[in-house]
Amino acid sequence: MVITLLIEITWVGRGGQGAVTASRLFASAVYRENYWAQSIVFFGAERRGAPVYAYNRLSDKVIKFHHFVNSPDIAIFFDLELLKITKVLQNLKDGGSILLNYSGSLSSIKNIIPKKVKKIGIVDATGIAVELELTIAGLHVINTAMLGALSRILNLPSIDAIQYVIKNNWPGKIGEKNAIAATKAYNNIEITEL
């Protein structure tokens, strides 16, 4: 490769939803496919429920930058509200993508999606979690589903790599269940090029 590849991602979730874990698993998964990857986290004073940010950079070279991703290539929202209240969308790169956990249809939110967004993926990760009874202490676990969906929208890493890192992270039953969630999301995501 001559040209350096650099993909930047921003994850927006809530305390307890596992966005940080997802971002980290993502880094592990892409590293398996021979990319250099970072997962950066912004921890505020959040408690359960408050917005949480995580970032990825991936490249074919070692990355020495250490700052947060400001204008991501793709922004991932764990719920619609987060898309509305955070400023992440504003800073998305021109031509960037969005991945959203949402049970509704694209049309019902189209008006709030800015022009610069070129691709949008919608997946009902909460629905999958409900279906699979993926909960921890009352909270639905949606991060692995989001990972699966990301693999599809980004074409990177393979869903196999995602499966691997999930099962590796949670050996046993829980890993299996989460891997299923990822696959379901990978299959069910609705991707629209805008």
Partner: protein, 303 residues
């Protein structure tokens, strides 16, 4: 219609504001609501590092409508001592100075500070909300964590016993010591009202369930707190030094459980909480021993 406690509660201002940054179902902030209802506006809170230094929300806003001085972890009881002396020196005698801290800040790292302030009989209220671990840093064991509880520093469940803090403070011979619980806001409210009017060092030990830390559903905060009392694990009592000696009494909600036969099985309490999921029978026995010790100790005081 005569004025009930409900009317009084409705009347008195809520000084913990909604839209704060506590977790859903937080037992600690629930308790603080009643502590401040009882103390009222003329109060300064000194808060050491803990969840409560975080659930105030972030600069430039605050969710708590009295003066707050945030301070370093081990220092709260000493800061409060200084504040109180300054207020008195400046002629403001009737301001409540409250320390509001967790078990880590007041029972572990800051224990010497609390004990020193008690020994000097400083005119302050020290209230520990006991969620039985360091929650703000992500659930590490504290001296107040019970045996068997899983924390991020005790993967196999804690081996040691829970430090019997309220009894240690009782032995310090200070004017007022009481235990309370987030599950019994009215009992707590009454105790703080009483404490407010006593001069000298007052200590409140408040049981405060923590959904993420104890791994139970957010909605179960009160249920868990009640089970702690109903199983006899957490005993509500108060002890006031009067001119005629120590006035020790078991508070209403705990009274039925003087009789062990009336206590619910400890397992009812443990089962609800993920932190006890792997607890061994030996460790359950340690907790039972802790319960027995407490009741025995208390009975000695009641005689």
């Amino acid at each position: 219609m005569t004025k009930t406690i409900y009317d009084e509660l409705i009347e008195r201002e809520d000084l913990v504001l909604p839209g704060n940054t506590s977790c859903p179902g937080c037992g600690s902030i629930l308790a603080l609501r009643y502590v401040l209802k009882a103390l009222g506006k003329d109060t300064i809170i000194v808060i050491p590092a803990s969840c409560s230094s975080v659930y105030q929300a972030i600069f430039p806003y605050s969710s708590i409508k009295v003066h707050i001085f945030n301070t370093a972890f081990a220092s709260a009881a000493a800061v409060a001592s200084g504040l109180k002396h300054a207020l008195v020196a400046k002629g403001y005698d009737d301001v409540n100075v409250l320390v509001w801290g967790g078990d880590g800040g007041l029972i572990d790292i800051g224990f010497a500070t609390v004990s020193g302030a008690a020994e000097r009989n400083e005119d302050i209220i020290v209230a520990v909300y006991d969620n039985e671990a360091y929650m703000n840093t992500g659930i590490q064991r504290s001296g107040s964590t019970p045996p068997g509880a899983i924390t991020t520093t005790t993967y196999a469940g804690k081996s040691e016993e829970k430090k019997p803090m309220p009894y240690l403070m009782l032995l310090h011979g200070v004017p007022y010591v009481a235990t309370a619980s987030s599950g019994y806001p009215l009992d707590l409210y009454q105790k703080v009202k009483k404490a407010r009017n006593i001069h000298g060092f007052r200590f409140l030990h408040i049981f405060a369930p923590c959904p993420p830390g104890w791994r139970f559903d957010d909605s179960k905060t009160v249920t868990v707190a009640k089970l702690a009392v109903e199983t006899g694990y957490w005993i509500l009592w108060e002890a006031e030094q009067t001119d005629h000696g120590l006035n020790f009494s078991i508070s209403g909600p705990s009274r039925p459980y003087i009789d062990p036969a009336r206590r619910k099985p400890l397992e009812d309490y443990l089962m609800l909480q993920g932190r006890f999921r792997d607890i061994s029978p030996e460790k359950i026995n340690l907790i039972k021993k802790y319960i027995d010790n407490q009741w025995e100790f208390i009975k000695r005081f009641l005689e």
